[in-house]
Amino acid sequence: MTRTKRSFAVALAAGAAAIALGMTGCSPSAGGDDDSSVLRVWAGSATPINNNFNPFAVDTAVHATFGAIYEPLFFFNQLSSEPPVGLIGDTYEYSEDGKTLTVTIKPDQKWSDGEDLTAEDVAFTFGYGSNKTEQFVSAEATDDTTVVLTYTEPQFTSAPLTLGTTYIIPEHIWADIDDYIGETNPEPVGSGPYVLSSFSDAAYTVEANDNFRDGAPAVKEVQYVGLDSNQSSQDLLTTGKIDWVGQFIANPDAVTGKGDITTLNLQQDPTTITTCANADLGCTGAQTDPAVRQAINVAIDRATIQEKAFAGLAGESSPTFMLLPRDEQWLSDPSLTTSPQEANVAEAGKILEAAGYAKDSDGFYGKDGTAIEIDLFSPDGWTDYNDAAKLISEQAAEAGIRINARTVSDAEYWTPIQNGDFQMALFGLTQSLVADPYSNYHEFFAGTSTVKVGESPLVGQNYSRYTNPAVDEAVLAAGATQDVATKQAAYATIQTEIARDLPYIPVVLNASQSFFNTKKFTGWPTEDDLYAAPLPYLAVANAVVLTNLTPTK
């Protein structure tokens, strides 16, 4: 045997030993799975996880911060039209003019460090940092369980914001913190069902809070892991390493096949062709003509898009931009329940011809010698969007409308959407948190929520640059009242206007899939009992789900 041969054999043996070592290294972790009371979650964090539990860092704080550790006063379930559920809060009441809000909180609550949680803390929270809005006047604790909030303007429409997303903080800790933006709050003291127990940049763990007002939750430990790809999460779910994720999996049977994992698919947020619609504010292109948008609206085959691009998981969206049937009481015209699901080429042609367009020799519509040619972009790698854009382009071509679908990088996607330098983009709007479409109309359609092309809206997200005096007036009217009939009338106006003008052309209702281990834990929301959305990344809802769970062993 030559020396080389021998050393090669030695190397092989060493390699085998390394693998064997690896295997033995594996066995204790397999044993660790017996510890079935730990719930493992991937809420979408990428590694390295940032050590930030600051409830004011809305975008950068880690997932357990909102809900599990810090709580708002009430939980607004965005899946139901039921009134909100009290967390710290017990009841709330508006004054006649809507400028004063009186909140009572539940008695005998404690912070996770054992100090009492009183109305003083709540009042302090509302007067602290960015919770102090422009319209805020004062927050006063009139006794141990009552807080009176005063504003300069009626606050009827901001209850979900004020009561549902203002996270109550302990005065005895935050009174000493001035830089509430730079704070990372590595040892959070909250009122929620969990407290932080350990943190590393790959995972962190929260454990049951013994001081929680309803008693410590049944799931004693919850570990949040950081992962960088959906594939990894799917693999971990399949092998039983993690118990709860919310992500897109095109073929859910692969994961749920064994029977441990259950999936729930909720459709809430509309995906739209967002158009830069308003030539007065600087939009350019054929899509600024409502007739072109109307023609596209009837030319696209939504059923095909939903089947081919969204794997059949998406839902039918409504041109009223309401979540139906949740918001049914506000629907003015039943014909606006859903957008047309099949293409109607003849109708598209009729609309365009009535508006003075004519077909050229290639079969494409145009006006005054210029053919319609619109740019439609979507972020590269969002495959469902990319496929949908391609289908839209093909379907529009059938109807003689030229739409060029292209993909752009993430960075190139957000900037034009915000500053209006685009013609059409596939873009997802977010649904209102409560069974009232007010925030949708205010955010996406009101003139006060938009600015000229070239600037980004500071208030609201009217990226379409849509302005319509009738809509603006109705939004104002709806915001200043609690009277159902007045609101209904205002919403009826808005719905007619936006369904005709189509600044956002609805495509589908985006799917949000959640997967959870029903073998290890019971009490998850079901199709029939959607007490909270089972998405681990949804603030507050995730904590409501956690407190409802029980380990099976």
Binding site: A18, S29, G32, T60, F199
Partner: protein, 334 residues
């Protein structure tokens, strides 16, 4: 000696130029990176005011300090750099860039470094052997390994994960260590080190598989051409043992060109293996870079590029020295 002095001087100048470029590039970009980052931060924090400190840190790292001349900014930049201050990341706000890099660097260096060394050693040893036995069945190793190299890396990695981790359950799926076992993060214990090694095996195998072909092919071909050199023929004619001819005469000389490539490869170890880190959620530098670029996080980008530049330079410097040592011709002509 003057060879080494000249090399040192050359690298010092390159070092200075690289750092200065790193200072200049964001300032030459269209738009004001500091403004972009501040804007992003404001959006991220829901339009809330930023602290004075943050604003100052960002403008002084990235930009356009209002009353400062470019020269003063340059001096300030060096001052902070020498204190190890690389600024604040905007995607990971308010984490320090230096901390992020320090956390990621060891993982990348150890895993990608070891994999690169293994891949190189394997390629050279097997390549020499295959070249020595040219024309035999061993030649089939060349197309086999190059096929692995030509397969898209992410695909190879995903297939290996699907087979060995998900189906067979032999290897872990993600991470640098078992996060379920060590919820508190890295610690100094044999159990942790074992876990880290165990988690490194599959990623390392994917890297070795996808890169060994190049070394092997290069080495084999050099070996074949070296063996027709006069000195090898002479050595054989002298009646030296084949082993001696193979190791002392042929392999040694055939390996020299590969060494240069190895130096460069070592330098790029720090750049990490972006795709590997993404597939395995491995806590390395490559991932930081991808996040920085996607999130337009200029401070993080600058920090990562700086570290990569410095290591590439250092590795080249090191190889230069070694090269001068093993190949005297370099010292005389350099």
């Amino acid at each position: 000696m003057s060879f080494y002095l000249r090399r040192v001087a050359f690298y010092l100048v390159t070092f200075w130029a690289a750092i200065s470029l790193n200072f200049l590039l964001p300032r030459l970009l269209p738009g004001d990176p500091a403004a972009i980052m501040l804007g992003k931060l404001r959006r991220a924090s829901g339009g809330r005011p930023l602290s004075e400190e943050t604003i100052q840190a960002i403008t002084s790292i990235l930009g356009a300090g209002k009353d400062m001349s470019l020269w003063d900014q340059y001096l300030a930049y060096w001052g902070r750099l020498l204190q190890g201050d690389l600024g604040v990341s905007s995607t990971r706000y308010p984490a320090q860039v230096a901390d992020l890099i320090a956390g990621a660097l060891p993982w990348t260096i150890i895993l990608v470094g070891v994999a690169t060394v293994i891949s190189f050693a394997l390629g050279i040893i097997v390549g020499a052997w295959v070249g020595w036995r040219r024309g035999t069945w061993l030649d089939h190793l060349v197309p086999i390994t190059t096929v692995f190299q030509s397969i898209p890396y992410f695909w190879l990695a995903l297939v290996l994960v699907a087979v060995f981790s998900v189906q067979l359950g032999i290897f872990p799926i993600v991470g640098g260590y078992d996060v379920f076992e060590f919820p508190g993060g890295p610690e100094l214990s044999w159990a942790f080190i074992g876990s880290a090694i165990y988690h490194a095996i599959l990623p390392a195998i994917t890297i070795v598989l996808s890169s060994v072909g190049g070394w092997l092919l290069g080495m084999r071909n050099m070996m074949v051409s070296t063996m027709s050199e006069d000195y090898v023929v002479t050595a054989e004619a002298k009646g030296l043992t084949p082993r001696r001819v193979r190791t002392k005469y042929a392999s040694r000389n055939a390996a020299i060109p590969s060494l240069a490539g190895f130096g460069i490869a070592l330098g790029f170890v720090v750049a990490g293996s972006i795709v590997m880190e993404q597939v395995f959620s491995y806590p390395g530098i490559g991932k930081l870079m991808i996040q920085a670029v996607q999130g337009l996080d200029y401070a993080l980008m600058q920090g990562v590029f700086l570290v990569i530049t410095l290591t590439v330079l250092a590795a080249n410097f090191f190889m230069d020295l070694i090269y001068g040592f093993i190949d005297p011709r370099v010292r005389h002509n350099g």
